[in-house]
């Protein structure tokens, strides 16, 4: 298996952008050379969580792209284009801007790993992997997500995003938390819509 964070070794190095690869079989692993981000402008996020469910089940959830908007809090739209290609649109973490890109799965090992990257021309070039490894003692599966992207205005954009409290690291952590709850508990905990003494109106009334 490749290192859990293949992009780390390339951080800070300059590499030419490679064209999008559309064939899964073309590459065995997410190769470091697939880096989408030039120079030191890239932002990399790694988060992991242990889920008390079998890897195959977790992989299957993740592989069905229709499931992802359930765990991403940010308004996210994913259209399936083919078995490995998809079109994504999301509201940017700042302003009213909507970001769109085409993504393609570049590595797919059932029950083990999914890797993807944006196609050439994406406004925010990005790439990521999700790995599923058995936890010690067979107590569930360690799910590790690595996301690498090129913010629109380099580090400035990342800084702005951080200030607005929508830092991608938080988003990934939150998505993994929701994913874990959905897989282990069958639902995502919420208090939205519960009563409080703040609302003066009594909209729901029993009796």
């Amino acid at each position: 298996m490749p290192s859990p964070s293949p992009a780390r070794s390339t951080r800070g190095k300059t590499r030419p952008e490679t064209p999008a690869v559309t064939s899964v079989s073309a590459r065995k692993h997410v190769a470091p050379s697939r880096r989408v981000v030039r120079g030191d402008r890239g932002v990399k996020v790694s988060r992991s969580v242990t889920v008390r469910r079998p890897a195959d089940e977790l992989y299957a959830f993740w592989r069905d792209l229709r499931n992802l908007p359930r765990i991403v809090k940010h308004a996210l739209n994913i259209e399936r284009v083919s078995d490995i290609a998809s079109h994504w649109s999301a509201s940017a973490p700042f302003g009213d801007h909507r970001v769109e890109w085409d993504a393609v799965i570049i590595n797919d090992e059932p029950g083990k790993l999914i890797a993807w990257r944006s196609r050439e021309g994406a406004e925010i070039p990005n790439a990521g992997t999700v790995r599923f490894d058995p936890a010690p003692g067979d107590e569930g599966t360690e799910v590790a997500v690595t996301l690498e992207y090129n913010p629109p205005a380099g580090k400035l954009g990342a800084w702005l995003a951080k200030l607005s409290g929508e830092e991608p690291a938080q988003q990934v952590a939150e998505a993994l938390r929701r994913f874990k709850a959905l897989m282990e508990a069958g639902e995502i905990p919420t208090t939205e819509g519960q009563p409080s003494g703040r609302a003066e109106t009594t909209k729901n009334k029993r009796k």
Binding site: E184, Q194, R206
Partner: protein, 388 residues
């Protein structure tokens, strides 16, 4: 419905709010027949726990009748009579599987907040600030109960609410505190700091678990009398020169085998801590904790059911290390205790209603909070009745 809302420091109001609805498939709605004010509610009342918002509905000790169930609720049915534990657990994560129920991974929607403070977030609690999930509490006519098949215990007998209500928190909390003491039946001596409701249950639980002697430390006469009625030897710390000396006298110089801090973050007796806490230089006043650390015997156990929220100063870690003391603490793993303790009540081994000193209508909650906080009128435990 009517609900008891925190509207600011020492300011409780009974407000008309929306009735709760099913928000998730595993929820149920309970019509509350009895609820109580917990000592830990006073930490909220006094404004010591951050992330409480004006308008939050308090209350984590409650029981009642199931009146609605979500589509994924399998065990509970409409009409069931239930006591609801104060912690919310999912039943599916590794901690629930290990019966570390209060460490549940999946019930706190604001787990990130608690993670930032503590490294990891624990189970959500009813009516206990955003940090613990921000779930509306049970000091209300109705309450939403998430993960209904994992928390509530169904009551089949016709025992009155007064005997059952405290399964929701203080009886299991006192019991776990005593169980954590690793009492050797017939030999163990346990000292309990704080004779509030949790301390009272810790005292009786320690004796049920076979303690040879339980020593109760407080300075409120009626609380010490209640402790004595439960079988403890009382030390009024205002009437002895030195608690450590008094404890040595009661234990042949050894010190107690186990010390229970049932006081927590708002201990009285230290001006140093009072000032630091007021100035926000310290979250918690740990006077009782320090005393317990020094008093416990070598190789003994320190059990902490009292609530701490943040940082404490001047903890005699050297004493704990030098004496090889084991510290056990944390929120109660409620589901471990519900059935065994219900059996103790049904078998007549304990009647938890001994602790109740006041019964008032839910609408009188604001006055009841003030009375409980100031320990006025001999107040030890208040039960609120939504039907009164």
């Amino acid at each position: 419905m009517k609900a008891v809302c925190w509207m600011g420091k020492k300011k409780m109001e009974v407000r008309r709010v929306s009735d709760p609805t099913i928000l998730n498939p595993r929820d149920c709605i309970v019509r509350v027949t009895a609820t109580a004010i917990c000592g830990s509610d006073l930490h909220l009342y006094n404004g010591y726990i951050p992330t409480l918002e004006k308008g939050d509905i308090l209350g984590h000790e409650f029981m009642g009748e199931v009146i609605e169930t979500g589509p994924e609720v399998k065990k509970l049915k409409v009409g069931d009579r239930v006591v609801v534990p104060f912690t919310i657990s999912c039943g599916g994560c590794i901690h629930c599987a290990r019966t570390q129920w209060s460490c549940c991974d999946n019930t706190n929607p604001n787990a990130a907040l608690l993670e930032a403070v503590a490294g990891h977030g624990g189970a959500a609690l009813y009516g206990y600030t955003g940090l613990y999930g921000g779930y509306a509490g049970g000091q209300a006519e109705y309450v939403r109960v998430p993960f209904a098949d994992v928390g509530p215990i169904k009551i089949e007998s016709d025992l009155p609410d007064d005997k059952l209500l405290f399964l929701s928190d203080i009886f299991p909390t006192g019991y776990m505190a005593a169980e954590n003491c690793d009492i050797v039946p017939g030999r163990g001596v346990v000292a309990v700091w704080g004779c509030g409701p949790v301390g009272q249950f810790a005292i009786r639980s320690a004796l049920l678990l076979g303690a040879a002697k339980v020593i109760a430390i407080d300075n409120v006469p009626e609380r010490l009398r209640m402790a004595e009625a439960g079988g403890a030897v009382a030390i009024n710390h205002d009437e002895v020169d030195d608690v450590q000396d008094a404890l040595r006298a009661h234990t042949g110089g050894r010190g107690p085998d186990a010390a229970i801090d049932a006081v927590g973050m708002e201990a009285h007796g230290s001006v140093y801590d009072q000032v630091k806490q007021t100035l926000k230089l310290e979250n918690d006043r740990a006077y009782a904790l320090r005393q317990a650390m020094r008093a416990v015997r070598k190789g003994g156990v320190l059990s902490i059911p009292g609530v701490y929220s943040g940082f404490v100063d001047k903890v005699p870690m050297g004493a704990v290390f030098a004496k090889a003391v084991t510290i056990k603490q944390g929120q109660t793993h409620m589901q471990r205790y519900l059935r065994p303790l219900l059996k103790l009540i049904e078998d007549g081994k304990i009647d938890p209603s001994f602790v109740i000193t006041h019964r008032v209508p839910l609408g009188h909650a604001p006055q009841a909070y003030a009375m409980f906080c100031d320990k006025k009128d001999g107040c030890i435990k208040v039960v609120l009745d939504p039907a009164m």
